[in-house]
Symmetry: C5
Subunit: 101 residues, 5 copies
């Protein structure tokens, strides 16, 4: 999976019927130092992630493994909201700290 | 999924029988600032997208999930026409504005 | 799918039995302006494409969708010979013109 | 598979139920000269790898082949801890030497 | 598939049980001019390829199509040893010539 930050949303009313009811988030990828990369993905959301939260995004057929997603033409899915990223015992990211300030 | 702009069409009369009846669009990828990327994809179209419209393109096995696509050798599919892309409460793209302007 | 030009062939006599009888083409990828990219793929061929023809190549599991390809360890397949590529009403490529000129 | 070094961990309490009980490692990719690449992956772990160990990571649907992983939305999995990498009869990496030195 | 040169081997004793008995080769990718690329893959081997031989490598789910590979978490497999690569009637590579010279 990749680490990404929720940046916004994409709305499409004229789409395949199989996508109905799927919330689509615009995600910006982050590198392993916590810096934004010039790379994004539009992903379905199963966990109710909000703007600026850091999330885990699964790509490829992994996006269609969860119940109810099998028949949606998704190639990317938000599978978790990140609490902490720890690199060699240092805290790279903490959701609590990010929310405080 | 990636955000792409419809640029044109690709026609192939001598192709695998399984591709018969699939309209093939030439898509140019857009970045998350709304600028064109030097990257394209030829994708099947399920939604009747037209030139200059912004669309969502699913790649990989996601392109063969929808009814009728299971047996076509597609690795990319247009799954929706984009109405709006919103980044941190700013409107990056609006189909209505694009059509007016 | 990507647009590619047939450049040559790859021959392998010592291969997995499942590849027996699969013709392997060396393809060079083209960009959306019709220029060659420094990127290639060795792909199976279902349509009898010849050197210098422009073709559509499907990658990933799409290469194993067609009848007879299901059990071959291919990750790329030529699925069509391109007649025309049209970008915003301009003809970027025409097989007829290429053959004449 | 790619060669990667375990750098840390990612914790997500609010995630899809199907990910429950999957330990998530932050991996940094290594090149074939043994140097770190600016590329990472968050992967599930089946082998109990620890920080600084070199591991093999499988990506895509390969991450869901092993027993118990079929229904988890993973696109990357640590499938082995590397003992040695040998390039043309030279030892590029040895776990024993790395632990001593 | 991509063209790669066998550079060495990777040994992992602590791995998923499903990988037992799979020989793992370190492959360096070659470009379409026969020059090495800064890109490698660790792949399973079905054909008994040796160091310095040029091989065809299939990636993704293609690596698990052959008999006996279905339940191994591989995302890359050597599927053939290359005899010749021919580009527009010129011989780019010949295994016989490489072995002589």
């Amino acid at each position: 999976m990749q680490i990404a930050k929720v940046r916004g949303t994409v709305v499409s009313t004229h789409k395949t019927r199989s996508l109905t009811g799927t919330k689509l988030l615009l995600l910006q990828f982050m590198d392993a130092q916590g810096q934004p990369l010039p790379k994004y993905e539009v992903a379905g959301d199963l966990v109710g992630a909000g703007v600026n939260e850091w999330v885990l995004v699964s790509r490829g057929s992994a996006a269609r493994i969860d119940d109810g997603m099998e028949h949606r033409p998704l190639d990317a899915l938000v599978v978790g909201i990140i609490d902490t990223v720890t690199v060699e015992n240092n805290r790279l990211y903490s959701k609590k700290d990010a929310e405080r300030g």
